[in-house]
């Protein structure tokens, strides 16, 4: 695979070192007319070089907001980061100057979005937009930037890249647009790529190609990949580790095999049993009862308790582990597994 000359030594040198991105106790609030909305409530995770971390959650679980906080694209106000640290290469992105932050975005961390058509500027050709990364961050001439753009389009497997470099976003199909977005995002060889539901707007065959492309690029460059999604199938196929989010908190974390094989949190368990199974064809799906929580009024205790089939709110609750009163911390349940449930051991069956 042809790589840009500047990116050649990157991959191997980086792999194997400690976490590149470290999010620690991140909290984000939105100030709205109907009161404070607590979108992210103390989220912590780490991403190492070459690792794929999937952040799984339903709409409104805070998975996109936490990514936007990392990228500095939250609209503040109404959003407000009330606490936490975002450590990237030993520096807290929340305390460095906006100018320093800007220099990290693009070359250090970059992001691809759900809807590639609206994420591309309609008035510029795709080659110009990819080339802009090189002109803005590396001061490259137009001619060189265009050459780099064609190489990148080739690298993300856009056919006839040299001919299509002057085409506009509306002239591309959905899958090709997402490839253009990916080309822009990997242009400066970032160490972390955040993909916010990158395949949601695409049909299934194209989804698979885009995910394959992301995996291949990750293998080549050794970047860490944060995959934000609600698609359990995608997580199962491409991720190493998974963090399940509910009501702005991480409720379970572990390797994909462990978490999917044997959930330690009733919410994850509920998600797993709501996946259509080929073997169970003709049977009924098992949905999670109740409604997603209102983030302006999160239930007391464990936020999942009103929907939880295994809650203990009466006399059967152990002292200090009352589901409706005591907030369960995210704790190590078995080696390599963390869950925020008072009764994880029971859920796991260990």
């Amino acid at each position: 695979m042809s790589t840009a000359s500047t990116s050649a030594p990157a991959g191997q040198a980086r792999a194997g070192s400690g976490p590149v991105l470290e999010v620690d106790d991140l909290r984000v609030q939105f100030r709205t007319d109907s009161g404070l909305v607590n979108a992210v409530n103390g989220v912590s995770y780490t991403v190492s070089a070459g690792e794929t971390l999937a952040i799984l959650g339903e709409s409104g679980s805070g998975k996109s907001v936490s990514a936007q906080a990392i990228m500095g694209i939250l609209d503040m106000p109404p959003a407000e980061i009330t606490s936490g640290r975002i450590m990237f290469e030993g520096r807290d992105l929340l305390t460095v100057s906006p100018e320093e932050q800007r220099k990290v975005r693009g070359p250090g961390i970059s992001m691809i979005f759900q809807d590639a058509l609206s994420s591309l500027n309609p008035v510029y050709s795709v080659g110009y937009q990819i080339g802009e990364m090189f002109r803005a961050h590396r001061g490259m001439s137009r001619k060189d930037a265009k050459k780099q753009a064609v190489e990148l389009m080739d690298r993300v497997r856009i056919p006839a890249a040299a001919q299509r470099v002057n085409d506009y976003p509306h002239q591309f199909s959905g899958g090709m647009r997402q490839r253009v977005m990916i080309a822009m995002a990997i242009a400066l060889d970032p160490r972390i790529l955040i993909a916010d539901e990158p395949t949601t707007a695409l049909d299934v065959t194209v989804q698979a190609q885009v995910m394959d492309l992301l995996k291949d690029l990750q293998r080549d460059t050794g970047m860490g990949l944060v995959l934000i999604t609600h698609d359990l199938g995608v997580v199962n196929e491409v991720a190493d580790n998974v963090a399940v989010m509910y009501a702005g908190r991480i409720v379970e974390r572990g390797t994909v095999d462990d978490v999917f094989g044997n959930p330690a949190h009733p919410y994850t368990e509920g998600l797993m049993s709501s996946i259509p199974q080929v073997e169970a064809k003709g049977g009924r799906l098992q949905p999670i009862g109740g409604q997603p929580p209102n983030l302006a009024n999160i239930p007391s205790g464990c936020p999942f308790h009103p929907r939880c089939p295994k809650r203990r709110t009466g006399a059967d609750a152990l002292p200090g582990r009352h589901c409706a009163e005591d907030v369960p911390p995210l704790r190590l349940v078995v080696p390599g597994r963390e869950a925020a449930c008072h009764y994880s051991e029971e859920v796991l069956g260990v």
Binding site: M1, S2, M71, G72, I73, R102, R105, G106, S110, M111, F113, D115, S118, S119, L120, N121, P122, V123, Y124, S125, G127, Y128, G131, E132, M133, A136, R142, K143, A145, K146, K147, A149, V150, E151, D154, R155, R157, I158, P159, A161, A162, Q163, R164, V165, N166, H170, Q171, F172, S173, G175, M176, M181, M184, A185, T205, V206, A208, Q209, D212, D216
Partner: protein, 324 residues
């Protein structure tokens, strides 16, 4: 073209489904080496638009008239008048007839082009500049900045264009402000622009607010683009279209407003020659000599049309989705 390309893409997508090997050809052949910019692509599209050429032809003709009126006046001095010919109707020798003073009207209309075009174009450029800069800043930064600038615009809105310009032109000559104290077409244009920029500002502001929240601006921010780059490269090209159309139409309004100022005694004064002056003077005798209003109005309309056509073509050219 678009549909074909998308079909090709889809076929390609389907062919590639299930494969994970790199299919891309390794040969990178950049045929034309320069990066296409917004403006070079827009120009290529403009060149193919007959509307643009029609407008440009008219525009250039009027520009030539303004530069060298003696050529187009067929050698007649607009100030050589004979009262005996007062209000005479058009004839083979004098295509536009004579005005009240008995001066050749063709020569007068032709010599009026310079002042009228200076006022129209200069005023519109100032309107465009003020509107885009103030509107973009207000829309982009929002909050207190937006509040302050919008209220300033509201104050100007409260003052009628003519009244504001009248006051400014009255006190202008007594001040030492360079252009304003001249009483020439520059002063009139500036006075009109200073009280006529608010609509352009509001148009730009609302567009900028709409574009600002789009995903591609968030994407640009996520890729580390600076505020200035986001505003100039990403927001403004998507926000200027309505204001371009508005300003081309406004040229005519401003040329006509000059006539009103003249009537009130603060605009251009005789012996200056302008279309506004002629339309104003012709109104008094519109029943006995309608050609005195007709000819300058006709030329004024054609001038405005030329700019509207160019503005329309430019707007289409700046939007890639409108290009065929």
């Amino acid at each position: 073209m678009t549909d074909q390309q998308q079909q090709l893409d889809l076929r390609k997508d389907e062919v590639e489904a299930g494969t994970t090997t790199g299919l891309a050809s390794p040969s990178v052949d950049v045929t034309d080496s320069r990066q296409n910019s917004l403006w070079s692509d827009a120009w290529r599209s403009l060149k193919r638009n007959p509307l643009f050429w029609l407008g440009a032809t008219f525009g250039i003709v009027f520009l030539l008239i303004a530069i060298a009126p003696q050529v187009f006046a067929r050698g007649v001095d607009p100030r050589a008048c004979d009262l005996a010919n007062s209000k005479a109707t058009p004839s083979a020798d004098h295509w536009f007839g004579y005005d009240v003073q008995g001066c050749d009207y063709l020569a007068n209309v032709v010599y009026g082009a310079r002042n009228s075009l200076i006022i129209g174009i200069f005023a519109v450029l100032v309107v465009l500049l003020l509107g885009v800069v103030v509107g973009a800043i207000a829309g982009f930064y929002g909050g207190f900045t937006d509040g302050l600038l919008s209220r300033i615009a509201d104050i100007f809105y409260a003052l009628p264009l003519i009244l504001g310009a009248l006051v400014l032109l009255r006190v202008g000559p007594e001040t030492s402000i360079p252009i304003l104290n001249s009483r020439g077409p520059g002063a009139v244009a500036l006075a009109l622009a200073l009280f006529g920029w608010m609509t352009a500002m509001r148009l730009v502001r609302s567009q900028v607010i709409a574009v600002k929240s789009s995903d591609y601006v968030a994407a640009a921010r996520a890729m580390g683009a600076s505020d200035i780059r986001i505003l100039v490269r990403h927001i403004l090209p998507n926000a200027v279209a309505p204001v371009l159309v508005y300003t081309t139409i406004t040229i005519g309004v401003l040329i006509a407003a000059e006539a009103t100022l003249t009537y009130l005694g603060v605009g251009l004064q005789r012996p200056a020659i302008s279309w506004g002056l002629q339309i104003e003077a012709g109104q008094d005798s519109i029943r006995s000599a309608p050609h005195l209003v007709l000819f300058p109005s006709l030329i004024l309309t054609m001038t405005v049309m030329a700019f509207v056509m160019m503005g329309d073509a430019l707007r289409d050219a700046l939007d890639p989705r409108q290009r065929s």
